[in-house]
């Protein structure tokens, strides 16, 4: 579907822009990051709604839940291995925003789950790698923003990836949504160069 193709292209372009803005002189521009994330969200929503209309109902083990475009960027994000191929990744992605590696590594390697951002009923499959996260009291050599700003920038990046609901213990689909507590381990992690 043409809209689908365009949505994917826009998503790819947006991600490369978000990457490029990390190294921009003067630091991350909040306004630009916000606009990029809005475009990514629109493209993602259109991509998913066009996929939904294509697919039959029983194709996936985890049915997708279309996201409201006006919802906050704080919805739970899942990283996929193949960031350039969102389609196969949609079923298997899990959260991994806490490693101090750069985002590329996060995409490529196995994902650890963000315990803090799960709703209480969710089961976490993997334990968080606390040892690998830089402690707050040590000075970070990496470029840092305001804690919230970094988090925001990372969430914008993660926005691209599909937010998927999972089957909970009751057998019904669970939604991950709502405001999330700031993730201390993210400090300094996104901008590791």
């Amino acid at each position: 579907m043409e809209v689908n193709v365009e949505a994917r292209r826009i998503l790819a372009v947006s991600i490369s822009k978000l990457y490029a803005s990390r190294t921009q002189r003067g630091g991350l521009r909040l306004h630009r990051s916000l606009l990029l994330s809005l475009v990514m969200r629109s493209a993602r929503d259109i991509y998913h709604s066009s996929r939904e209309s294509e697919e039959s109902s029983g194709a996936h083990s985890a049915p997708e839940e279309p996201m409201d475009t006006s919802s906050s960027p704080g919805e739970q994000a899942r990283l996929s291995e193949a960031q350039h191929e969102p389609q196969p990744a949609l079923n298997s992605a899990e959260l991994a925003p806490e490693e101090p590696d750069n985002a590329e590594d996060c995409c490529d390697s196995d994902i650890t789950e963000d315990k803090e951002n799960l709703s209480p009923t969710k089961q976490s499959r993997k334990r968080r790698g606390k040892a690998s996260a830089a402690p707050d009291f040590l000075p970070s050599k990496r470029a840092r923003l305001e804690p919230g700003e970094e988090r925001y920038a990372l969430m914008s990046f993660l926005e691209f990836f599909h937010f998927e609901s999972r089957i909970g213990p009751s057998g019904g689909p669970l939604l991950a949504h709502g405001p999330h507590v700031g993730h201390p381990c993210l400090k300094g992690s996104f901008y590791n160069s």
């Binding site: 365009e6 704080g74 840092r144 919230g148 925001y152």
Partner: protein, 426 residues
């Protein structure tokens, strides 16, 4: 396509002072260049005087924020003049983080005949001083000095996008993406935060502040625009923190024109009050809108700047042009001027509703020649002298323009070149 050989020379702001005698430009390299209007030549009274360089100084230097490991750009984002109160001129210039008050003064006399030092400045041998004299002021070549009088620093976490001098001439506001601060011109170690839209949880951020301006007459009123295309008017008498607006201006979205980029193109890049303060105008990516302060639900007028770009938004997103922030300017609110691409700029006459497209380039504007109107062909057939949308040079963008406060003189910044156009007197 063209590119600028010296990126530091790219002009980033243009502003006439209150009398129009001086024109200040700021550039990406942190420099301020001030032009002065020369008196009309007696030989050629039918021509207005020209603008020549009056003063050049380095306003901001690149800095490094060690805590965040971030470079702070020296690019001058805005210049605003203060009303003139004595022989010296004062202006505020700002980069992303620091605002500076500069005093520009002339010196055309020098004291000579000091007792304790000779003309070179070397101290005289005290035993050789046998008589006392009073130093005399002697004329010297005019020297224009710029000195920083105040530095307003460390008040903005995010990038400053606007400064605006209040009508009380004592205070001014500065706005970044999430906060607006009110300063007193005399006090640099304190500022009042009057707007704070930073959410407790940054993930809930949905809009940022894009521009702010003080009302021209009511010193308690100011407006700020957002990335969502809304404008909020605030009254500082209502509360210390003006998080709740007094008026909220928003045009309902046209659902038929919705696209991936609807949100980006609705982001307001500039907001300016009319001289009366009754109206304001806003610039978003494709249009200029005039708002009546008494009507919040929609603008009273909308002017299309380059509607032919609406079908090209995807490519403009890819080449980053969709993020360009155009400014708008008016002449007593009779006419509106704003920039576009290919070194084109647009002027709209509010009374006759006529509009014109002009070009600021060396090729098309010889000195003293009349500017020829340009036209972009949008249909299939391209007429002679028209330029097709695909031939437009998107690297040649006119983001900053200014109109003389009294005369029909305009300043147009085209990348690193400044063009000054004026009406023929007769």
């Amino acid at each position: 396509s063209d590119f600028c050989l010296f990126p530091a020379d790219i002009i980033s702001t243009v502003e006439f002072n209150y009398s129009g005698e001086l024109l200040a430009t700021g550039d990406k390299g942190g420099r301020v260049v001030i032009f002065q209007h020369e008196q009309e030549s007696k030989n050629r009274p039918h021509l207005r005087g020209e603008y020549n360089v009056y003063s050049t100084f380095q306003s901001h230097e690149p800095e490094f924020d060690y805590l965040k490991s971030l470079e702070i750009e020296e690019k001058i984002n805005k210049i605003r003049w203060l009303p003139q109160q004595n022989a010296a001129h004062f202006l505020l210039s700002t980069n992303d983080k620091t605002i500076k008050l500069w005093k520009i003064s002339e010196r055309d006399k020098r004291a000579e005949g000091y007792n304790l030092k000779d003309e070179d400045g070397r101290l005289r041998d005290p035993f050789r001083i046998t008589s006392l004299r009073v130093p005399v002021l002697m004329p010297m070549d005019l020297m224009v000095e710029a000195s920083p009088r105040r530095i307003f620093a460390n008040a903005h976490t995010y990038h400053i996008n606007s400064i605006s001098v209040n009508s009380d001439h004592e205070t001014y506001l500065s706005a970044d993406d999430l906060r607006i601060n009110l300063w007193h011109l005399e006090i640099t170690d304190r500022s009042f935060n009057i707007v704070d839209i930073k959410p407790a949880n940054m993930e809930e951020l949905t809009e940022v502040i894009t521009a702010a301006e003080c009302h021209p007459h009511q010193c308690n009123v100011f407006v700020y625009s957002s990335s969502k295309g809304t404008i909020r008017l605030c009254d500082m008498r209502a509360a210390a923190l003006c998080d709740r607006h007094s008026k909220f201006f928003e045009e309902p979205e046209d659902p038929s024109s919705r696209s991936f980029f609807s949100e980006i193109i609705s982001s307001i890049s500039d907001v300016k009050f009319s001289h009366s303060g009754r109206y304001m105008m806003t610039r978003d990516y494709l249009s200029v809108k005039v708002w009546d302060l008494n009507m919040e639900n929609r603008p009273v007028e909308t002017y299309q700047v380059h509607e032919y770009l609406r079908s090209k938004l995807c490519s403009l997103y890819e080449n980053d042009c969709i993020f360009d922030k155009f400014e708008c300017y008016s002449y007593w609110f009779f006419a509106i001027m704003t920039g576009s691409y290919n070194n084109f700029f647009r002027m709209f006459d509010r009374n006759t509703r006529r509009d014109i497209t002009l070009e600021a380039s060396r090729e098309s504007s010889k000195p003293r020649a009349t500017l020829k109107p340009r036209k972009v062909s949008t249909g299939g057939k391209r007429k002679k002298d028209e330029i097709s949308v695909d031939s437009l040079d998107f690297n040649k963008k006119i983001l900053h323009t200014a109109w003389h406060p009294k005369d029909n003189v305009i300043a147009v910044a085209a990348t690193n070149n400044l063009y000054i156009f004026q009406d023929k007197i007769n």
